[in-house]
Structures are given as structure tokens and as C-alpha cells.
Symmetry: C2
Subunit: 153 residues, 2 copies
Amino acid sequence: MRIGELATSTETPVETIRYYERAGLLTASARSEGNYRIYGVAHRERLSFIRHCRSLDMTLEEIRALLRFRDAPEENCAGVNALLDEHIQHVSHRIGQLLTLEKQLKKLRAQCRKTEAAIHCGILAGLARAPDARKTGRGAHIAGAHRHAGAAR
Amino acid sequence: MRIGELATSTETPVETIRYYERAGLLTASARSEGNYRIYGVAHRERLSFIRHCRSLDMTLEEIRALLRFRDAPEENCAGVNALLDEHIQHVSHRIGQLLTLEKQLKKLRAQCRKTEAAIHCGILAGLARAPDARKTGRGAHIAGAHRHAGAAR
DNA sequence: CTTGAACCTTGTACTGACTACAGAGTCAAG
DNA sequence: CTTGACTCTGTAGTCAGTACAAGGTTCAAG
């Protein structure tokens, strides 16, 4: 199958598949006469694996590690467990941070319940003060609060 | 004061201050004889404001909008309220997504409680299956699960 | 056989919010 | 005068893609 079919059958943009190839995650086994990438069923399974991991917010680096385990079935899966445990920790940690953040934002928002001149705005005043010592976003393995729509074209 | 003092007094890396200048958030008012950036107290306050907003996971674009309100005190603060409400929504939404994600990861992890050969590993098998229809990370304004340490030097 | 659409190729540049240099200039202390 | 800390500009890297441009290939309809 060519890249377009692989793309639609795994709901992955074509450009992303080529990007994964550059990133060393998924290489086409051959090229056609016209220099088109040729994929088989194993490639589709591998790509599904990658996309599932991505949907679980793993980095490509983590996925690379999992693929190494997948490609070496004689190894034991202690490494898989460890990787997953670490990833779960990151996610849990980030949830805690975002909950703290949410509380802070709501507190800030409560400082301005009605429409006033900005010069008296409690929110702007609150933001002008130095931030708390506890860091909300910085230093975490789990990412911040923004992501663009992207993905679905 | 020069950039180094501004940096230490706001706990902001020097490079980040210069980056904010390029991004149009904070411009030094003058240059010294030797072409060094010169800042005053107002700059420090503005930078603290920016850093506080960043610690609340706002984007630079959102901060730019807040700075416009701050710079125009005759305007009313309805826009500030709206911006903050929207940001709170994003954060809450992302928390929900991460909680779902956490549940999925723990379920996956439970499939391999003991160390076995990777070929029998339930986790690898689980990841090979197509992901659920509900998207965890994609399409959200709130970002994914990873961020490098960075920041604190 | 030709035309045109649909597909594919490589390569490059862009995103956000920085971080990390290289190579040069400035300045005060010893 | 030299050393070392500081600063300057400019460029490139990070992550996981996205979005082109400019061209080549394939396939079906006319």
C-alpha cells in the first residue's frame, strides 16, 4: 500500500507519516518504480501502535523506547512497566499542578466581579504582584495549558 | 539597571528577557554608552506581571492582550474578565482530559502486573490495538503531557 | 494518445516559548 | 595590562508536527 492509503486507514496525516520516518519511528520497506513508499500490514500495525501511544500523550522518545521492547520480544517487560509508571507519574503530577492553577485563576477572577475601569481592576492589580513561590507550570515534565486544534484537517 | 540585575531580581533568564523584547512585550527604554539595555522600576513591574501571567500558563498572546488593557487604564475591564474566563475554561478542560488519560494509563498498566517476557506483555498488546474514539489530547487548547525542566538554571 | 485530477516526491519554513551557543564588545578590579 | 564578569547580536536547536512550493507519477476518461 502507498502512503495515502496508510494515512487514511490509520487517520494519520501523510506529512506526519513522513515525519515519523525522518524521526526513525517508521520506515517504508521499499519504494515503487515511481519512487513511492510501499507499506505492508506490519507497517500499519506499527503506526497504529505509535498513534495510540501519542493519544496517551507519550513523547516520541518514550515511544521509541517502547518500540525497542516491541522489536525485542525476548527481553522481559520490566522496562515497559517502568516507562509506563513514570509516564503515569508525570500525568498525575501535571493534573495536580493544573488544579492548583485553576484555583489561582478562579481566585483572581473573583477579584473583579463587575465591569469597572481597568485602572481599578482587581485582576490587573493581582497579576502585578509577584507570583507565589510554588511554581505551577515550570519544571514539570507535563506540559502547560495550551495546544492548538491542529490534527484534524 | 542593566539586564543582569533585572534578570536576577525577577528570576528570569537574561535570554528570556531579550526574547520578550523581540516578541514585543518588554522594551528597554534606553541604551547605555556601551549599548547595554537600561531598565527602570516600571520595567521590572511589567516583567513581573508577564512572569506571573506565564506562571498561570497564559500564552504570550494572552499576555499581550492583558498588557494592552494595562496600558489603557481608561478602558473598562470587561475584556480582562472575558480573557480570564476563557483561560479558566481551557485549564478546566485540560484537567478533564488528563484525568481521562490517567485512567486509561492505569488500566493499561494493570494489564502487566508482573515481569514477563515482552512477547506476552499485555501492555504492548494493549497499545497495539487502535486507540479509543475519544481523543485525549488532540484538539484541545490545553497542552499535552510533557515539558522539560528548563526555566530554573 | 492526451488531458487532467489525484496522488506522490523532496525540501524548506513556520509554530511557541524559550534555550544554547559563537564571536565580539564593554567595563571594573587587581 | 590582563583577567574575568557581564553584555551585545545573530543563529540554530528544542518538540511534534503543519503548510507550503515546485516538480514527478499514476490512472481513468475522453
